[in-house]
């Protein structure tokens, strides 16, 4: 937290500060008077052009992947049919706007189809990671003491296990599927939100209003659910945005290692790793469109996350 400029404080606040000398000032979650969270979030987008661009790109990509196939009909499930009725590795042209891949699948259609998987896994894995992380971090920080020590040591242990190694092991032990990938990626990504939320909780639980709830007989679960988590929501949302981007990248890496979703389904990573087999033959349409899709979505999510972070003044430690 940046050192606060005393000039910004009103005399009353300065007085309060002197009275509190000795006790650490509560930090984090600065007071804001700009209305509800949703209005703050809207404000972010109104101010930051990059965030608008990012949000528009993400929404368009979601529309393309889910509504697109309703207007642009292609066969994306039967390899046999694709091999029989269309030419393989054909360049972009009138019949195939983005060409076909080595199985004869239409690439534009495949980007939509694979995009569904990639986006679903990305958002769902980030959701799981965030939910587990928030609960874990809030409980750990709220109870403190031995509970906190044990729970955080468990986080440390999993942090020491490099993600890809754990992912490789888990996808080998259990057969790969879309649901498993969501669980596995989510399960390796919950550590960062857990740490962040624990940190927030540690500062929030000593606040007067939290103590007031406890004095009035509010149970721990109520304090965590109604008072601590809503106050840490800024940190949580910012991190969740980055989680989606990271999950899409991790999925792409797994696809390259041959551990993406099994055929006939596909995801952007698996498509890209198919395409790069032809990197030396000049079949650029099998690489750049899908690579562009990944990069666009990930960059956009990062723009959104950065803007949210700046606006909500959340200090995060990102890799």
């Amino acid at each position: 937290m940046a050192v606060m400029d005393p000039g910004e404080l009103s005399p009353e606040q300065l007085q309060l500060t002197r009275d509190d000398v000795g006790a650490p000032l509560p930090s984090g979650g600065d007071m804001r008077s700009s209305g509800s969270l949703s209005r703050q979030l809207l404000g972010v987008f109104a101010e930051n052009k990059l965030a608008i661009v990012g949000a528009v790109v993400v929404v368009l990509m979601i529309l393309l992947c889910y509504i697109g196939p309703d207007f642009y009909h292609t066969n994306q499930t039967s390899t046999q049919q694709a091999l029989l009725y269309s030419s393989q590795n054909s360049p972009p042209g009138a019949q195939y706007p983005l060409g076909t891949d080595s199985n004869g699948f239409d690439i534009l259609g495949r980007i939509m189809y694979g995009g569904q998987t990639s986006l679903e896994i990305g958002f769902a894995a980030a959701g799981i990671a965030t939910v587990i992380g928030v609960i874990w971090g809030a409980v750990s920080g709220f109870f403190g003491g031995v509970v906190d020590a044990v729970m955080m040591r468990i986080v440390d242990v999993f942090l020491a296990l490099p993600g890809i190694y754990l992912l490789l092991t888990l996808t080998v032990i259990f057969r790969s599927s879309e649901e498993l990938l969501i669980l596995v990626i989510g399960f390796t990504a919950w550590l960062v939100p857990a740490r962040l939320v624990r940190g927030e909780t540690l500062t929030l639980r000593v606040r007067e209003y939290v103590q007031a709830v406890r004095v009035m007989g509010g149970r721990g679960s109520r304090v965590v659910a109604r008072h601590i988590v809503p106050n840490a929501i800024g940190t949580i949302i910012v991190n969740a945005t980055f989680q989606v981007a990271d999950a899409i990248l991790i999925l792409a890496a797994l696809g390259f290692l041959g551990l993406g979703v099994p055929a006939p389904k596909t995801d952007w990573g698996s498509m890209l790793s198919n395409g790069v087999n032809y990197v030396t033959t000049g079949y650029w349409w099998e690489i750049y469109p899908v690579a562009g899709a990944i990069v666009l979505v990930v960059v956009s999510l990062n723009f959104i996350g950065d803007a949210l972070r700046d606006a909500l003044e959340v200090r995060l430690q990102r890799r």
Binding site: A160, P162, I294
Partner: protein, 304 residues
């Protein structure tokens, strides 16, 4: 911490659906084959006895079991590959730091100019590209189109042999460094910006210190602190990145070993490499902690 990692790998080795024997021998193994496999590997003993034997072997002999595929001790397989991965990790992380720190400073000096925007855009782009794509594009443009570097990684069996073939080593190192550079330079920029708004910087400027003196003597050192923190935090990610990198370039390190183990369903080997990777992450974080004390004199460990 080490104990926790050990426990995780032990638990993982026991959650294979249908048992380890099915995983190793395939779905068509006869009950007799499974029984003898379980007996040889001690899987028929009570769980606590297995844990005890596992720990005893691990602590006394660093025994990580035998590879299902090649029947060699996992320990030997890993130790023949580990030094090569460490070379790759060390070189690329050093390169990343050497490039990222000046880039970050350059962006701060030229903040809100074209240079700054271009570099920011570049780091966003690099960060958003899957590692293997960067590697393959580098191969395409620098090894296939222009024959600057070799396509494949050095295939020498020793560390010295690998270092003796720098043309082949450049691309794997560059690939692994690129994502790290993207993250580090962005972080360096924001951390320097933070530092430059602080009071002591204004004091230094007021005293009449030159611009470069303020930047390098006063700001840089504090800016570096957060980079060291970031370095410690990103070690697991760098070690993970090495798996993809080694697969792209066929670099004979521990990452490729892990990848092949995954393809072969070689669970003991996978768990062994995971265990060793976790240890290297722990050691790496310790090194970052020591660096911490070097960069920031306010942090001192066990001095009194």
């Amino acid at each position: 911490m080490l104990a926790g990692v050990t426990l995780v790998t032990f638990v993982l080795s026991h959650v294979i659906p249908g048992g380890a024997a099915r995983g190793a021998l395939g779905a068509r193994a006869t009950p007799g084959q499974i029984a003898s496999f379980n007996q040889i590997n001690g899987y028929d003993l009570p769980l606590w006895d297995q844990l005890y034997r596992y720990l005893e072997g691990l602590v006394l002999h660093f025994n990580l079991g035998y590879s299902y595929k090649s029947n060699e001790p996992v320990k030997d397989l890993i130790f023949s590959r580990l030094p090569k991965t460490l070379v790759l990790l060390g070189l690329s992380t050093t390169l990343a730091l050497i490039v990222a720190i000046p880039l970050g400073i350059l962006q701060v000096v030229r903040r809100n100019t074209i240079v700054d925007y271009l570099l920011t855009a570049m780091s966003f782009l690099l960060y958003a590209m899957p590692d293997f794509l960067i590697g393959l594009l580098l191969i395409l443009y620098l090894a296939v189109d222009v024959h600057l570097f070799s396509i494949a990684a050095p295939d020498a069996s020793t560390v010295a042999g690998i270092l003796a073939d720098p043309r082949a080593l450049v691309l794997p190192v560059l690939t692994l460094a690129s994502t790290t550079v993207a993250a580090f330079s962005r972080y360096m920029r924001s951390s320097m910006m933070d530092v430059l708004t602080q009071d002591y910087i204004r004091t230094a400027q007021a005293k009449g210190a030159s611009k470069s003196r303020v930047l390098y003597r006063h700001a840089l050192r504090n800016g570096l602190i957060s980079i060291v923190t970031l370095l410690g935090l990103s070690i697991p990610a760098i070690v993970s990145g090495a798996v993809v990198d080694e697969t792209v370039f066929n670099y004979p390190g521990m990452g490729l070993l892990t990848y092949n183990a995954a393809l072969n369903n070689d669970v003991p080997l996978l768990l062994g490499t995971t265990f060793v990777a976790a240890i290297s992450v722990i050691v790496g974080s310790l090194v970052a902690d020591v660096l911490y004390a070097v960069v920031d004199p306010r942090i001192r460990y066990a001095k009194r």
